[in-house]
Structure formats: structure tokens, C-alpha cells
């Protein structure tokens, strides 16, 4: 597969290291492409503008510290397990959800 072009509409901008192999992931049911070595946070924010919506009604969130300290970047896998996007590496076929499992809605 050729190198993917930067995705428009993403928040993060890739500046280098774009020759890595591509991986397929699923974000909220939609197919998307990430690069091997991406964190989940980067994979999500190169496609979109946010990771989740604050449960306290103050809008969307896109992470804050990127070092596993603030817990702002929680997303969920297809089994409903919580993932800290900044410290989770993407893997081929990974499916993630930016809204919490129905139980907690």
C-alpha cells in the first residue's frame, strides 16, 4: 500500500515518519487508516477533531497531557473496555468507540 496522504479534517498534523506501514482500524464503525507505531490518540486525531465528549456538558475533548496523567483521552474498544488513547498503540483491525458503552450512558 502506498503511503497515505495526510487526512484533511484532522486536528494533529503529521510532520515526518509517514513512510511507516499502514494499518486498518475502525472508528465508531467507520473504516480508517493509521500508521504502525501510532498511538490511538494520534490515529484518532489525524482523522478527526476530538476523541470524546465531556460527560459534564462542556463540549468535546481531544486529550491534554499525552503522558497518561490527565485521563482526558479515554475511549472504548468494541468489547466496551476503556482505553487510554495516549498510551495505547494501534493494532491492525482495532475497533474503537468514542462514546462509552451503553451501560454507562
Amino acid at each position: 500500500m502506498s503511503n497515505p496522504l495526510p487526512v484533511s479534517g484532522g486536528r494533529f498534523v503529521r510532520l515526518a515518519e509517514t513512510a511507516r506501514p499502514a494499518l486498518n482500524i475502525v472508528i465508531d464503525g467507520a473504516q480508517a487508516t493509521a500508521l504502525e507505531g501510532d498511538t490511538l490518540l494520534v490515529a484518532l486525531l489525524t482523522h478527526g477533531r476530538h476523541l470524546r465528549t465531556s460527560e459534564f456538558g462542556d463540549g468535546t475533548r481531544a486529550g491534554f497531557c499525552l503522558m497518561g496523567a490527565c485521563q482526558d483521552c479515554w475511549v472504548w474498544d468494541d468489547a466496551g473496555h476503556r482505553l487510554r488513547a495516549c498510551s495505547t498503540a494501534v493494532t491492525e483491525g482495532m475497533a474503537v468507540c468514542t462514546t462509552p458503552p451503553a451501560l454507562f450512558k
Partner: protein, 463 residues
Amino acid sequence: MTPPRIVVVGGGPAGVRAAQALVEAGVRPIVIDEGRRDGGQIYRRQPEGFTRSHATLYGSEAAKAQALHRSFDALREHIDYRSETLAWNVTTGQLHTAHTPSGETAALGFDALIVCAGATDRLMPVPGWHHAGCYSLGAAQIALKAQACAIGSRVVFMGSGPLLYLVAAQYVKAGARVDAVLDTSPAVPTLGALRGLLKRPRLLLRGLALKASLRLAGVTLLNAVEPVRIDGSPDGGVSGLVVRDARGAEHAFACDAVGMGWHLRAETQLADLARCEFTFEPLSRQWLPRIDACGRSSTAGVYLAGDGARILGADGAEAAGRLAALAALHDLNHARGQALFASEQTRLQRTLATMNDFREGLAQAFPWPHAHAAALPDDAVVCRCEAVTAGELRRSVLEFGSQEVNRAKAFSRVGMGRCQGRYCGHAAAEIVAAAASIPVEQIGRLRGQAPVKPLLMSAQQND
């Protein structure tokens, strides 16, 4: 004699050098690292498959980063290295850990515990900082260093401290668009600050060179600014930022990302759970665990080193980590450790004294603008986790009589959210102190709570 059981927490400069000293003395320590790879935050290693050189990643510090990584690689077989593992509690003689991906937990008995937990950015709330696209300075650097990304297509950096100019310059060099660097500190440091900064003239010059390179690249540099607000919308995130200069004029910048931070704060929760005594340091306005010149805490068998004890930076952390490990061996009557301790103690302490003078210079040159934090408008979100405002926090003082931060936390929930007060705690203390009209050192300190970070409900108890 059974070998001493020593656990090191942290895989950054302090942790790696502590582990190395232990291995040199013939001890095999357990090293607990939250990261996927060693290096800590400052010398964070990019994932396998990335190809940028050490020089590209670490600039003037490339040789030191490479030396630390090589030392770790050589140690790898001589230590019990547990990566992606959170040290979440300390009880008497035991450290409790959880492996993040699997949820497996362990209770590790120790004769000595060397905590090298590092630091995070110190943040000050700014109205609008909860919008998507606002990040800590450290986050901005990690995006670049570990993922080769910029946090946005038009970035403004704001805050104070050496990291402010370093990250901005790294962004410019990597090809990101940086519109402005906005510093709350004055352009010219006081004489007192200079006295400390001149203890490490090479670093001082490097700082000046960074500023010059930014100016040359056309980046707007402003000093002595007061943050006014970060503009944005709940859906779209950050769209701009406004500051006020020393003459009272407002400056607005359009941007889609803000990186901000006010130097660093120590990660002291494990020291707190180990019942180490803390003292308030007026210079940095932070509560810090009490340590002696070798890194011994007030709790027997617990040693503290690196930025988690004092923000000395990476070079200081390397020396402090080694010294704390040797002091631990000395205290355990370990013969080879005692010999190493005797021969190196004076030299390492001298290094640390220089680093500490420089630290004090930095703290004076880039002060935490505490008066600004105390005066945040009522509608400003202080707690990003749960969207609690400065006004709600003040009400906990004025209506419920909270004259102590832990009480104010109970009433307002500021400090109780996901980050457990890491990013709001310092400002919250200033707000509570100002509202109660008592000095910040007299309103107490947010106590660390186990688990020091959220654990998954599925975490397996294997101990």
C-alpha cells in the same frame, strides 16, 4: 546473606541511573516503568519503526539521551524490568503495581524503594482551557518527539519556563507553524535569578539562543503577558487566544492549538502514600517531600530522586538517582554499595548542589504567576475533568467555610476528578487561600490517594 530486595519506580534518567548503580553493586532490582519503553518523558524513545536520529529528536541533549538508552539496553538482562506497569500504592514494605494492558496486579515486598516518579507540567487554568486543542507543553513535545506530529496547524505556546521556548523551537525546526510564544515572566530576569542561572552558563546561553532562533523564524515573542482567555467552541475546539501585555493592551492570536505550561510539578503521590513528610517551598510555591542530601525521605527505606523530588532537570536526575541508590545500599549495609557510596557521595552531592542553584534561578526567572491564578474569573473552569469553576470553588470557602484544600475539594470536587488534582491542584490552592484570606502554605496540601491513577475495574488481584 540474601540479596536486598530493591524496587525502583521510574524508567527515566533517575530510575535508569539508580538501577545501573544497583547492578554495578551486584544487586538485581525490579524496575517499574509506566512507559512502554525506557527514557522517561525527557528521553522518551520513539516507537520501533521510527527512523529519526537522536540528533533530530533530542537536539543538544542527543549524546546524553543516547548514553542513557545505551546504559539501559546494557542493563536490560540484569534487572527485572516491568514496562507499562503502574505503581499505584505503597503500604509498609510493599509496593503495589498493576500491568496496564492485562490488568494483572502484584504486591512487591522491598527492603528499599527508590521512587523516581518524575514530573508533569504545572498548569494554570485559563478561561477556555477546557476546549479541545488545548494541551500541556509536555503534550505538545510528546506529540512531536514520540509521534512526529504537531498538535495543530497553527500553534500558540503560552506559559513560562525553559520548556516553553524549547518546545516552540522544536516545532519550528520540525516544520510546524508556530504563531506566537507568550511568556508570563518578564524578559529580563532579576539579579537573584541570574545568580542561579549563571551556575550553568551553557544552559543559560542555549536558552537565549532558542529565543533568538524563534525571533529569526518570525514567531511573535511577548513577555510579561497576562493570559485573558482561549477562544473556541464546545464542538470545534480552540480558535484563538487573547493575552494582555504589561501596558494593558490586548493581543489576539488566531490558532487551532494551544500548548501551555508553567514549568513543572513533582509527582509526589507515592511519597505521600509512603507517609513521607512534606514541606512547603515558598520559592516554587509547591509542597515537596523532605529529603536529605542523598535522597533519603523521612520514611525509612524510601528514597526519592529525580524531578519527582526536586525539579533539577535530566542531568540532576541522573546524579540524584545514582546517589539515592548508593545511599540505599549503604543503609542496608551492603558492602560493595558502601564502597561505591563512600567514593562517590561527595562528587554527586556537589553536582546536585550546582543543579539546585540553577533550579532556584529558574524558579525566580520563570515564577508561577500565583496572583493571576488567585484572581481567575468566577466562570473560568478550574477543574477540566469535571468542569468545576473558580466561582464554585470560592463558594466552598465563602458559603461552606472550607479553610483547607481537602475540605474545599470535598465540597467542590476540585481535585477529585480523573487527574486527581494534577492539573488543577496548584491553582485551586491559590484560589482557596485568596478567598479565605490566608497564606497558601496554611491551607494544607491535597493528599495523595491510592490508586494514584484510575485502575480498571477488571484489574486482577494476584497478590
